[in-house]
């Protein structure tokens, strides 16, 4: 009866797919599957009888058995995620050894919605990074660990301070709004907000509180897939900028029993790549030797000592403006409130009164030697350290597996009194309830804490701005350190100056930014398999964060009575999916389909309270009851809901040709209309179809193409017109004002139509693998806040407009250069990408959109040009191409000139990995070619005379002739075409750079040795003696070891990667970011 039924079914089945079978049964066949890596049994490997529907999975001992197999069946197909699929001939008592497939062509990868697929079935580019590659050099956060690992993905960090955020872009910038990808963990989106607390009263200052992505402990990551283009379409209106899919570690089936894993690292950190400072001239104005010569020409007969101390009074002036002499640091002396270093020569035997000079009996300062302190910035910095610990316990049983981990990270910053501590906990569990049900749950918690996150940006609250840009180069940091918490004889805070700046030690100890953040995210899924090939999954995801951020100022010159603000934020996101999927094979045809629906509800709230600029009553007591005058209060909320339905269907023929399509429809509360996003992709493997073309040279060839329409929605409340409340009352009366943005009804989401073609090749017996992609992206209907003429009564108008195209190339090369050559293996991975953008159209009557600006440099999206061109004052050239200099000897400035393009020519990375016996050595170089940056550091550091080049080549002794001493690569001429010979002071030249932004344009080129490690895996033979240690390793690691290849126009050699922040508005602008940190240390791990 049973056989009859089965035969009947098979007969019908054979009819359907047009293939006949002659059936006979063999007896019981069993075997075991073992991993080549560790010779451990593999639990959960699938053994599929080729040409039939029969399949089974291995048990905890790696064993499997079939009661009976049709005699026609000859081959088993054995597969397991993360290992190479293997076909073996059927015979009794098989021992099947699977090898790991980190770079295998048969790789199974995670795609949209968490669906795993064979990589060769994909009709689009998808690049994956294994968790191990993220952690092997113990990068402290996920964002930076991704740097240089994905072709076409740019990761730029806001600066070297602890906890800095990253700006991540995939395939360039196409949007005038957000360009950052969606982050999805285990199938559920999570927030990746770039938190920075800009208190509006602090112009230009920001405190970068990090990216949401960094709440994930890299040690808990199994793998990361990056969906770059059409492949992201299943995420509809959130997919516009690509998707980063993160798969966390689960209890792996093959790890039998209980496994305990510990990984730890300890690094020492130092700030490096500090700008090159000059040490030959100190604070003051017009005090250089050349200024002295000019004074002598004008008839001054005093000595240089007298001149330097302010003895020279210019004709027509009542008091001296030359030199330096300290009285009170508040304009009481000669230039003692001048925070520039254009003063007298150092180490020339001069005696001048200084802030730390002793007082005589009358309370007047006694002049002290005017000498250099060339290490004063380094003296302020300290050696930081980081330590990380992660312990995980994995339990794998027949019907369940669980992984729990605890992580701890502690960092002490390179700037005194800065730190960051992070605790993480993770729990994930998969339960095979019965034949029909599987259940999994995964929870991640993290707690971040810092007593002080360093302020950045152009602000006197940023200590590094103060000491690296507006500074007296003669200042002895020891004096500031010894006395920072005291007052001088006039009752001022002890400092080298008493205007604009506070003592850097005072700033870091008394003006702090404490921060705490709690994050909880996780998801749970119940999978139901009612019949073969059909699976229904209900999935619920939750994401929460709560932060508390305080701005505590005891005293600054801007806030003499202190300042206090406390900001609390919380975010809740609920994501529910119901997904049904179908997967089957009919002979040579494979079919898969999926349909689902999504509900998402996101709520965010913020409340801020504190003082106004009136400050506090008791200094340094940061409580609401201590606030002077009217307290400050503010609340803000947003709510966004969306509903979606989506589906996907794919078919393949004989694992050679694959076709796939998807669609999604989104309804969002932020936008009235609903939107439909389709995608199509296909791939073909000619080497499978025509086996004859396979050779030693060509092992594998795949071609692929994909097309999709994706979107990018907007934020809450854009369509309404609301009065704005003003944070403070006036004489007790609430103030309301009309909105400054004119709202437009009927907004649509941004529309991105993208296609790509690509090919994958494996050459030379799989030794060399090439993945090449060409893509095209067309972003239109951008949601723009366009500037309008203010005489309309508004500043901005919201509308859909604009069209930007991006096209580019991505190449990945993987070469096994040496494969076990006398025990040595060498693998090189190269990523290379180039993106070219063009603003095709903005909006009628508007051909320029300002993306960002700093001082008088503007980063524009301008019609006909690339996304992000920099405009500002620039050099003037005559028709011969000579640089024109005015009669004053300074370059003639042409305003509103195109002076740069923020887009790199290309980006790339080279990763090398060597293994020899138990050693492995790896290093990663991250490379960027071009891409201009407007450097506020270079503008002001030059103008203030602190940088080395402002005192190089004798220009402070002899003056500057433009074209001879500076700008030597140009022929510099006067208006009449004669070569310029006008001599000016170094101060006049460098100070004029304010107004000529081109002088502060630096190329973003760099080569960074981003990561390196030397790992020693303890030999198994030694470990087996311990009986409980399964494996162990120890590594020497280094991060951000070196920077090379900086451009000539990067005069102070600052790190071009650190931007002013992580938003669109910061691209191409560098302003007082903290120099990078170099970390060197050890990492070690043990598996029990």
């Amino acid at each position: 009866m049973k056989d009859m039924k089965q035969r009947l079914f098979l007969f019908l089945f054979a009819l359907i797919i047009g293939v006949g079978y002659a059936e006979a049964q063999t007896g019981k066949i069993s075997g075991v599957v073992i991993s080549s890596e560790d010779n451990e049994p593999v639990l959960g490997a699938t053994i599929f009888v080729k040409g039939t529907k029969k399949a089974t999975v291995t048990d905890a001992d790696g064993k499997f058995s079939f009661q009976s197999i049709p005699s026609s069946a000859k081959t088993f197909v054995v597969s397991f995620i993360g290992m190479q699929t293997k076909e073996v001939a059927i015979k009794p008592d098989l021992k099947i050894i699977l090898s790991s497939d980190d770079r295998s062509l048969n790789e199974v990868v995670v795609t949209a919605m968490g669906v795993t697929k064979e990589k060769k079935a994909l009709g689009y580019a998808l690049q994956e990074v294994k968790g191990s590659a993220l952690t092997e050099s113990a990068q402290t956060n996920l964002g930076t660990a991704l740097s240089g690992k994905i072709a076409g993905m740019q990761v730029s960090t806001g600066g070297g301070q602890l906890g800095a955020s990253q700006r991540i872009t995939i395939r360039g910038n196409g949007s005038l709004g957000n360009n950052q990808p969606l982050i999805v963990v285990d199938g559920v989106p999570i927030a990746n907000d770039q938190k920075s607390n800009n208190v509006s009263t602090f112009k230009y200052e920001s405190v970068d509180l990090g990216s949401g992505l960094n709440d994930i402990d890299p040690d808990n990551i199994e793998s990361i897939s990056v969906l770059k283009g059409p492949s992201a379409a299943l995420y509809g209106m959130e997919a516009g900028n690509g998707v980063i899919l993160i798969t966390t570690k689960k209890g792996k089936g093959r790890d039998k029993g209980v496994t305990v894993q510990y990984d730890g690292s300890f690094t020492v950190d130092e700030m490096y790549q500090l700008p090159k400072m000059q040490n030959s001239y100190g604070q003051g104005y017009q005090g250089a030797e050349y200024d002295y010569k000019l004074a002598q020409v004008a008839g001054y007969t005093g000595s240089y000592q007298d001149f330097a101390a302010g003895g020279y009074i210019k004709p027509n002036e009542k008091t001296s403006s030359s030199g330096y002499s300290y009285v009170d640091g508040k304009s009481g002396g000669i230039n003692d409130a001048n925070d520039m270093s254009w003063g007298p020569r150092l180490d020339a035997g001069l005696l001048l009164t200084q802030f730390d000079s002793p007082l005589d009996a009358n309370g007047n300062r006694i002049a002290t030697p005017w000498v250099s302190h060339s290490n004063n910035i380094e003296d302020f910095l300290q050696t930081g350290y980081s330590q990380t610990h992660n312990i995980s316990i994995t339990s794998a049983k027949e019907n369940s597996s669980t992984r729990a981990s605890l992580g701890y990270r502690n960092q002490k910053g390179t700037v005194p009194n800065t730190d960051l501590t992070k605790y993480t906990a993770e729990l994930s569990s998969t339960i095979h309830l019965n034949k029909y049900f599987d259940y999994r749950i995964s929870l991640n918690y993290s707690h971040n804490k810092s007593k002080n996150i360093l302020s950045t940006g152009y602000s006197s609250n940023n200590v590094m701005q103060s000491i690296m840009q507006w500074f007296g180069r003669q200042v002895d940091m020891t004096s500031l350190k010894d006395n920072w918490n005291s007052y001088d004889e006039s009752g001022n805070h002890y400092n080298w100056i008493n205007k604009y700046h506070v003592n850097p030690y005072y700033a870091v100890y008394k003006n702090t930014n404490p921060y705490t953040r709690d994050r909880l995210f996780g998801n749970t899924a119940l999978t139901f398999k009612p019949i073969d090939h059909v699976k229904v999954e209900g999935r619920l995801g939750y994401d929460y964060y709560g932060t508390e951020y305080k701005r505590q100022i005891t005293y600054t010159t801007d806030y003499p009575n202190g300042f206090y603000r406390q900001t609390n934020e919380s975010y809740h996101d609920i994501n529910a999916d119901l997904i049904a999927s179908y997967d089957n094979t009919f002979g040579d045809f494979g079919v898969n389909a999926m349909a689902g629906s999504n509900y998402r509800d996101t709520r965010w709230e913020q409340s801020i309270m504190g003082s106004t600029s009136a400050g506090l009553t008791v200094p340094g007591l940061f409580t609401m009851s201590n606030v002077k005058g009217t307290p400050y209060g503010y609340t803000d909320h947003t709510a966004v809901r969306s509903n979606s339905v989506y589906g996907q269907a794919g078919v393949d023929y004989s694992h050679q040709v694959f076709l796939d399509m998807s669609m999604r429809n989104d309804w969002s509360s932020t936008i009235e209309q609903s939107f439909f996003y389709p995608s199509f992709s296909g791939s073909w493997i000619p080497t499978e179809t025509f086996k004859s073309i396979q050779s030693d040279l060509l092992s594998y060839w795949k071609v692929r193409a994909g097309w999709a329409k994706v979107g990018s929605a907007t934020t809450a409340y854009k369509s309404g017109s609301y009065y704005q409340s003003v944070s403070s009352t006036i004489n007790g009366v609430t103030q309301y004002q009309t909105p400054t943005t004119y709202a437009t009804n009927g907004l649509k989401p941004e529309r991105i139509v993208t296609w790509e073609v690509g090919t994958e090749l494996a050459l030379l017996k799989n030794r060399l693998k090439i993945d090449f992609t060409y893509y095209h992206k067309n972003t239109s209907d951008q949601i723009l806040s366009v500037e309008v003429a203010n005489s309309t009564g508004y500043e901005y108008k919201l509308l859909n407009a604009g069209k930007i195209t991006n096209k580019g190339i991505e190449i990945q090369l993987t070469g096994d250069i040496l494969k076990n050559w006398h025990g040595l293996s060498w693998t090189t991975t190269v990523n290379w990408a180039k993106d070219k953008s063009k603003v095709v159209k903005l909006y009628d009557g508007l051909n320029t959109y300002t993306l960002g600006s700093s001082w008088n440099a503007y980063v524009y999206a301008k019609e006909g040009e690339a996304w992000g061109t920099i405009y500002g004052g620039g050099y003037t050239f005559n028709e011969k191409g000579d640089l024109v200099v005015g009669t004053d000897g300074l370059p003639v400035v042409t305003s509103n000139k195109k002076i740069g393009d923020v887009n790199p020519n290309w980006t790339g990375s080279i990763q090398n990995e060597f293994t020899y016996k138990n050693f492995s050595i790896g290093c990663l170089f991250d490379i960027r070619s071009g891409g201009d940056i407007f450097s506020v550091d270079q503008m002001w550091g030059g103008a203030s005379g602190v940088y080395a080049y402002t005192a190089a080549n004798g220009i402070r002794e002899n003056g500057v002739v433009v074209g001879q001493d500076v700008l030597t690569k140009y022929h510099c001429v006067q208006a009449d075409g004669t070569t310029n010979t006008v001599r000016v002071t170094a101060y006049n030249y460098y100070n004029s750079s304010y107004g000529c932004e081109e002088a502060a344009i630096i190329s973003g080129s760099y080569i960074k040795l981003r990561e390196a490690h030397i790992t020693y895996n303890i030999p198994r033979a030694w470990l087996t003696r311990t009986k409980f240690i399964k494996s162990a390793y120890v590594s020497l690691i280094g991060n951000n070891l070196a920077i090379f290849g900086l451009a000539d126009n990067n005069l102070a050699k600052i790190d071009p990667e650190s931007a002013a922040g992580s938003g669109n508005s910061s691209v191409g602008i560098q302003s007082n970011s903290i120099p990078p940190t170099r970390s060197i240390g050890i990492k070690f791990g043990v598996t029990l």
Binding site: A337, K435, Y436, I730, T738, V788, A789, S791
Partner: protein, 498 residues
């Protein structure tokens, strides 16, 4: 074995039914669930309707905070007009202007107009004619500042975005002045005749006292009319005589108790005090100190502090590139620039100005019911009283250094001195009359634009307007020379364009 399988089959059926139902319901809920999207997408923190009194409070505060601060006033008008000097970061004083600040200044004016339009509309529809007319008075107050700064500016088409005007046309100053007088007359008549409704708690200037708004409205008409007294004498004369001919219907600000002053309290620092509170870039100019000195003016100790070094009154030379040593110069007097408390005031209209305007009208021979001399004496007395000068000193001053001599120079000098801290008014007075004669442009060695013989005639059009309203702005901006010169105000009687 068999039983077990059957059981599973039954289970499976149940589950599949439930799953199908769940999936179906799920799909149904989703597609039918956009109904409450409107309420979800309503901002819970910001209102769609407000009481106009709260907008009035905003306008009054912002007007003083934004148009009488260091950027809008001290760095340019008060300095170009000769009273204030920047002695550190001196850029604006030698005409190295910041384009962003020009944008902001323009934006402040029109943002205020947009709010005032909204108040006007709301008041009109609710029948609150008091509020409506007060909105007009404030709108014209701002418009006068706007046109006196940039000359030809959008007026009739300003702040009408909701009517689809995305590129407002420009009006010539020649047309703006009579138009302002027309609009103000409507407000003056409205306030006199049919004033219904209250201004509420948001009237921080006059505490909802209608007569004071009438006084402010008519004094403003007087100021505007007298400014064009030689450019458009007929319009000016008609207006002035209409006001002075009917004091009951058109009352004026005639006592210091009625001054249009905005007093700051403990939420906001008064903007001049705030400007020097954190980093003091400003002090009094040598023009002011020298003028006060030469007249032995008792206000010198109120307007100026003695220098720390030398303990004397010393003004800084306006437009010098090199920074001054703070201790050598006189800081601004505490009454006008108190950096240690919140309390301070912004003068919008002073009673003494009413008398200066009347005196000037009388000098022209118009019958304004008071002689030029009497009006002059009243004006000077009111100004000295406002500054706390004793009656004895006032007597001495008026019988000695400031004794009425009928000369234009004396007359305008006194007006210029009295309008301290009203940067736009002192700059306008100087541009119209050339008084004080000892005012000067930035020194030739320091100026960004060499070759000019007088301080700026106007402010540069902001980039915002040049770039975003190009068709309307270009005909006017094209005639300007070096951003500040080349086109004079219609009422500038000096006839010098450079």
């Amino acid at each position: 074995m068999k039983n077990y399988k059957n059981k599973n089959m039954i289970m499976m059926k149940q589950y599949s039914k439930q799953a199908a139902l769940l999936f179906f319901c799920g799909g149904l809920t989703l597609t039918g669930c956009t109904g409450n999207f409107d309420s979800i997408n309503t901002d819970p923190d910001n209102p769609t309707t407000v009481n106009p009194t709260n907008e009035l409070a905003f306008v009054q505060r912002a007007l003083c905070d934004e148009l009488f601060d260091d950027w809008f006033d001290m760095a340019e008008p008060s300095s170009f007009g000769g009273q204030i000097a920047k002695y550190t970061y001196t850029d604006e004083n030698w005409y190295n202007f910041r384009p962003g600040i020009q944008n902001n200044n323009w934006n402040y004016c029109y943002d205020l107009q947009n709010n005032l339009k909204d108040i006007y509309k709301q008041a009109k529809s609710s029948g609150n004619s008091t509020m409506k007319n007060v909105a007009t008075v404030l709108s014209m107050f701002v418009m006068q500042i706007t046109t006196d700064r940039w000359r030809d500016v959008p007026y009739t088409e300003m702040a009408r975005m909701s009517e689809g005007i995305t590129h407002p046309a420009y009006d010539k100053q020649e047309d703006i002045y009579p138009h302002m007088l027309r609009d103000l007359k409507i407000a003056a008549d409205g306030l006199a005749d049919d004033s219904i409704g209250s201004l509420g708690e948001g009237d921080l200037i006059f505490s909802d006292k209608r007569v004071k708004w009438q006084q402010f409205c008519n004094s403003l008409r007087l100021r505007i009319a007298m400014r064009i007294s030689s450019a458009m004498p007929d319009t000016a004369k008609t207006t002035v005589l209409e006001i002075t001919g009917n004091p009951t219907r058109y009352p004026l600000i005639t006592s210091n108790a009625d001054n249009a002053f905005f007093y700051f309290n403990n939420e906001y620092f008064e903007p001049w005090g705030d400007a020097v509170r954190t980093r003091c870039d400003f002090c009094v100019s040598n023009v002011l100190v020298n003028t006060l000195d030469s007249l032995k003016d008792p206000r010198i100790g109120v307007y100026c502090m003695k220098s720390k070094k030398g303990d004397k009154y010393a003004g800084f030379r306006i437009g010098t590139k090199a920074y001054g040593v703070q201790d050598n110069y006189s800081m601004i007097g505490q009454r006008f620039c108190n950096s240690s408390t919140y309390y301070g005031f912004t003068p919008l209209f002073r009673s003494c100005e009413t008398y200066f305007q009347l005196a000037e009208a009388a000098r022209l021979g118009w019958n304004v019911g008071i002689s030029a001399e009497e009006a002059y004496n009243n004006a000077v007395t009111l100004s000295l009283q406002e500054n706390g000068v004793s009656n004895a000193e006032i007597n001495t001053y008026l019988t000695d250094a400031a004794k009425y001599d009928g000369s234009a120079a004396q007359f305008y000098t006194q007006e210029w001195l009295a309008l301290f801290k009203q940067g736009m008014e002192v700059w306008s007075l100087y541009r119209r009359t050339g008084i004080p004669a000892n005012n000067y442009p930035a020194p030739e060695s320091d100026t960004r634009y060499p070759g000019h013989t007088i301080p700026p005639l106007r402010s540069p059009y902001p980039n915002n307007e040049v770039n975003l309203n190009p068709a309307n702005c270009a005909p006017y901006s094209s005639k300007i020379v070096d951003n500040f010169w080349g086109v004079a105000m219609v009422w500038d009687q000096r006839g010098i364009l450079n």
